[in-house]
Symmetry: C2
Subunit: 258 residues, 2 copies
């Protein structure tokens, strides 16, 4: 059974999230339906990141085993055909070794969170940004973000529903940059706790709004208590932009757009 | 009656265009409803550019006269309140002299057309790009675009429904640039003929696809015949990004995003 790796783009707005669930349409179910269209069999697909409801991807990576070999380009084009009209597209498909695992082999996941920071509500990007009308101090946010980088117990930035065995994670980078009326937060780590990026973003917003001094993020981290972290930022500003793999040539990360 | 100038962002997808029409919702009608909400009176609004159905704006400029003075920030915030849930937002509002005219005083209009040039269909930007799966030669397109710049008879790049008195226009600039899997066309002129940017874009796409040599655009221009121009590119890739005015400090152009 040949194994394929796909890079996916999707609009998370209408989905209950990546994972198949009983309460609504999932990206996983949409993709598995398309795979059934291609090969006539029911095949499970495994993703690098199980994004939540409303969260988007421009560089999600999945693997799946097909019952027989197909040219990689045909896999991409046929899946895109069967995915219509779902807002999911296969950007790349390639055949990989049977040992490749999209989730366990990932060495880095890259998320981008976009805040629209202006008085007027969002229109063209209304499903893709968090709107904060009051001016954000992005430099204070950047200073606060730097305090979270490194190997830490991230219990304060973890959903109370998080099922990870350990709250210890290594945050490789967390940056904040202003571009016109946008404040863009980029986070990279081998893996994240549930809602970690959105809780870090909600905490950084408190700093940007002047409600918290930057140092409070270090204190929140030290508290190891969800109550010490900030609010969870809404899902629609978040996008999984890329996933890295260790093997040479296996970097399929996509650079953030725009 | 104090006159105000507004800068608007809107998603043209669900509208029949800027102009009020009997066959569906227009941006103009949505804005006039919001103005009625603000001041309780029916007030006509005048735009710099009458965008077509499906065409977006991130920097449309309009003027209107209110029956009594309001602080400009209140005009902006109140209109944004009454515009909900229509995908239209007032980015800026300012009081201007009674002689200001959004349409007649404009010295330059700036349009941006975005083509998504990859095999996979668009997802996150599906209402905002023209999808062309075959690789485009953006350098050939740029060379062809340069042939259209200047003062010309643009009859070949004008809708047969165009009602302008003269087909003579001065195209100040027309550029084509690739950014990853996007090909972005920027067009600036004091004014354009009906569908001019979309027909120029459709013609440049013929060049990019290798169906026309760049020189054919000079021949098309010389023919002064709509049949010599290329097809009309679809509306959803087009966005009015800014409008310039002559008076000092009156430049309200917005730079293209992303």
């Amino acid at each position: 059974m040949p194994r394929y790796r796909l890079v996916l783009e999707y609009d998370g707005s209408g989905f209950v999230g990546w994972q198949r669930q009983d309460n609504g349409p999932s990206v996983q179910a949409a993709l598995e339906r398309a795979v059934h269209g291609l090969c006539g069999e029911t095949v499970a697909v495994t993703a690098a990141g199980r994004t939540d409801a409303g969260v988007h991807a421009s560089g999600q990576v999945v693997h799946l085993d097909l019952p027989r070999p197909y040219p990689a380009d045909r896999v991409r084009d046929a899946l895109n055909h069967y995915l219509k009209p779902d807002p999911v597209a296969v950007l790349q498909a390639s055949e990989v070794g049977e040992g490749f695992h999209a989730r366990f082999d990932a060495t880095a996941r890259h998320y981008r969170y976009e805040i629209l920071n202006r008085r007027a509500p969002p229109v063209l990007d209304r499903h893709r940004v968090w709107h904060l009308a009051k001016p954000l101090d992005s430099e204070a946010m950047a200073a606060a973000a730097a305090l979270l980088v490194g190997h830490h117990d991230f219990s304060s930035f973890r959903s109370t529903q998080c099922q990870a065995a350990s709250p210890l994670k290594t945050l490789d980078s967390l940056t904040v940059a202003r571009r016109d009326d946008r404040v863009v937060i980029c986070a990279s780590a081998r893996s994240f706790l549930h809602n970690q990026v959105r809780i870090m973003t909600g905490s950084l917003a408190q700093v940007g709004l002047g409600r918290w001094p930057p140092a409070r993020l270090a204190a929140a981290l030290a508290a190891r208590d969800r109550k010490a972290g900030g609010p969870t930022a809404p899902p629609q500003g978040l996008c999984l932009v890329g996933v890295d793999y260790a093997a040479p040539g296996d970097r399929v990360s996509r650079r953030p757009q725009g």
